[in-house]
Amino acid sequence: MLKEVFIDHYIYLALTLFCIGVLGVLIRRNAIVLFMSIELMLNSVNLLLVAFSSRMGDAAGQIFVFFIMTVAAAEVAVGLAIIVMLYRNTRSIDIGDANKLKW
């Protein structure tokens, strides 16, 4: 059992969360779950930024996380509105049905 925690551990944690997010996007068709997976990925990146910020003793990383959270909030607001519209029009939130822009 490891007795100490280094930056590596945080990187592995962030990577694992990120890949779980990717997996979620790949295997799920529910648009809302897809969205959640994306939030998961964003969070993993945030975690990494905070970890590096602490290690470097630089506040910029945390400021960035702050901004990312803001953007995520905006994105979720708009994205969920779009999903609602999608559902209203197609009676489905299957991402596979949203393929009208293909060619």
Partner: protein, 626 residues
């Protein structure tokens, strides 16, 4: 002198620009006045130059056009006795023909266009003769070719005329290629294209190289001056309006080749082979065209072949070394052939556009001025003693005899042919009964003054033009030879004529005898003809069809090229070139239709692809880069 020269050269350009750019806004009369005035200004300037030009000529440089390490091109003009003589002929006869055109083209809609072309032609021709280098000469050479094309095809709505124009252009291009290559060789050998290098005894090249250059230059002359085998365009060029035929295809442009050879005489005398070749080609052309002219029924065609034949005589003169005699004949020919063409134009005008002499006859009463002036022209060309044609042709024949008696006899036959076909033309047109339609007879009228005046002036010139160089036999003095002597020397004249006095008398006597015989014979044959057959049989038929030269060229050159073109277009262009283009297009279409299935609208799929791409890129970096 600079100002005068600039005015001389630029006046036609101004006329061209005004008529060319604003012609549609000008009235017909104004167009004619502007066009003619421009040439009149040039003519007056030329006359003014006579006083100021020094004997050795003067090179007047305006500015430098192009300066390269190996090549220098100046906008410079060489004004000496030779170019001055040519300029006088061009502007003088040019002015008369402009004047004549004002009447002749009066019914035509494209009057301003016509005068614009004519002005441009005069400008190009002046550039050709006055330029001080082969480069400028070539500019003019191409310029007159262009104008010739434009004017032959002046009535371009007629497909046949347009084809004649194209034919002239293409034939000239063949010659131009030779001229260009000659120029390149010249440049390579002398490092400059300026005439200043052309000094006798200072040209240090081998005789083989001299032969090559001169032969190539002569090819250019063949094209421009309608010699065998490139002469066929000239008879077809009669499709253009008659003043054009008079100006371009009789008096000036076709003599460009002769001018070019005389200008480069220092080079040509270095190659006896070329000189011999020129003489042979000239003689062959003179005979060949002369025989064709015997049985032509189109008044302009007869004159056209006669022009080719006379040009042949000029080349014969040059070839035997009588450069000034060639120039002399050029000048007299310009007078009487312009006169004949303008007279023919007047006849055509009177006959409401009819050109076939088989349908004319007895015109001397209705159009007396035309008749008399035309008669003078005919007399001059057939060599009635002491007319200009007699003197100049006599000189060439003399020189030819000194060169080779056999050439002389053949040339004499050529001269005899001239007498025959010109008298035939004369008799058929002006004597006997009228063979045309009733309407033509009713419309018959003498041409207006602005058309007859040039005829009269040219008639006077045709008579007195020879007096500047009467043979010594008649106590004349070779003024022209002396005048041109700073530029060009007659090789034959140096021998003198003393030993040949008896021969000259014989020639004179022979001429008179032949003339009388011909008059009697032709007046008997054609004087009172009721009808003229349009078709001839036997050898005459061959002659009437111009030895089938056009057909032979068609078969030997045009058709094979056409076939090859069709072949190339069908196989190389349609299959290979188009094929490659189509394949490109088809590939794009195919790849588009195929790849669009990848664009399936499935977000998950896109994301998967993105992930795979990231994996691949990172893996590549890991394996090969880090």
């Amino acid at each position: 002198m600079n100002t005068i020269l600039a005015l001389l050269i630029l006046a036609p350009v101004v006329g061209f620009l005004i008529n060319g750019l604003y012609g549609h806004k000008l009235s017909k009369n104004l167009s004619a006045v502007i066009g003619s005035t421009a040439i009149l200004v040039s003519f007056i300037c030329t006359m003014l130059l006579y006083k100021t030009v020094p004997e050795t000529g003067s090179r007047i440089q305006f500015f430098n056009i192009l300066s390269l390490e190996a090549f220098n091109l100046d906008a410079a003009f060489l004004i000496d006795h030779l170019s001055l003589m040519m300029m006088s002929i061009i502007t003088g006869i040019g002015f008369l023909i402009h004047l004549y055109s004002a009447g002749y083209m009066h019914h035509d809609k494209g009057m301003s266009k016509f005068f614009a072309y004519l002005n441009l032609f005069i400008f190009s021709m002046l550039l050709l003769v006055a330029g001080s280098s082969y480069t400028l000469m070539f500019f003019g050479w191409e310029g007159v070719g262009l104008c010739s094309y434009l004017l032959i095809g002046f009535w371009f709505t007629n497909g046949e005329y347009a084809n004649a124009a194209k034919k002239a252009f293409v034939m000239n291009r063949i010659g131009d290629l030779g001229f260009l290559m000659g120029m390149f060789l010249f440049l390579q050998n002398f490092g400059s294209l300026d005439y200043s290098v052309l000094k006798e005894g200072q040209l240090h090249i081998s005789s083989g190289m001299a032969t090559a250059i001169t032969l190539l230059l002569f090819v250019g002359a063949m094209g421009k001056s309608a010699q065998l085998p490139l002469y066929t365009w000239l008879p077809d060029a009669m499709a253009g309006p008659t003043p054009v035929s008079a100006l371009i295809h009789a008096a000036t442009m076709v003599t460009a080749g002769i001018y070019m050879i005389v200008r480069s005489n220092a080079l040509f005398v270095m190659s006896p082979f070329t000189m011999h070749f020129i003489a042979t080609i000239g003689l062959a052309t003179a005979l060949f065209a002369g025989t064709i002219a015997l049985f032509q029924n189109d008044i302009k065609k007869v004159l056209a072949y006669s022009t080719v034949s006379q040009l042949g005589f000029m080349f014969l003169g040059l070839g035997v070394g009588a450069f000034t005699s060639g120039m002399f004949h050029l000048m007299t020919h310009a007078f009487f052939k312009a006169l004949l063409f303008l007279g023919a134009g007047s006849v055509i005008h009177a006959m409401s556009g009819e050109q076939n002499i088989a349908k004319m006859g007895g015109l001397r009463k209705q159009i007396p001025i035309t008749f008399w002036t035309f008669t003078i022209g005919v007399f001059a060309i057939i060599g009635i003693p002491f007319t200009s044609g007699f003197v100049s042709k006599d000189e060439i024949l003399n020189a030819t005899y000194a060169f080779s008696p056999m050439y002389f006899y053949l040339a004499a036959i050529g001269a005899g042919l001239t007498i025959f076909y010109m008298l035939r033309l004369w008799y058929l047109t002006f004597f006997g009964n009228f063979r045309g339609t009733k309407e033509q007879q009713d419309h018959m009228h003498e041409s207006p003054l602005n058309m007859t005046l040039p005829l009269m002036v040219l008639a006077v010139l045709s008579i007195v033009g020879g007096f500047i160089q009467l043979p010594e036999l008649f106590h004349g003095h070779p003024y022209l030879n002396e005048y041109l002597s700073p530029v060009v020397k007659n090789l034959v004249a140096e021998h003198g004529t003393e030993g040949h006095e008896g021969f000259e008398w014989a020639l004179f006597g022979g001429t008179i005898v032949v003339l009388i015989a011909m008059f009697a014979w032709t007046s008997n044959l054609f004087g009172k003809k009721e009808s003229v057959s349009e078709k001839y049989s036997g050898f005459a038929g061959v002659l009437e069809n111009k030895y089938y030269v056009d057909e032979i060229y068609n078969f030997l050159v045009v058709k094979p090229i056409e076939h090859i073109s069709v072949l190339l277009s069908k196989i190389v262009d349609n299959k290979i070139v188009d094929g490659m283009v189509f394949i490109t297009g088809k590939f794009v279409t195919w790849s588009g239709t195929t790849l669009r299935y990848i664009q399936n609208g499935q977000t998950g799929f896109y994301f998967l692809m993105m992930s795979i791409a990231i994996v691949v890129m990172l893996a590549y970096n890991l394996l090969f880069k880090l």
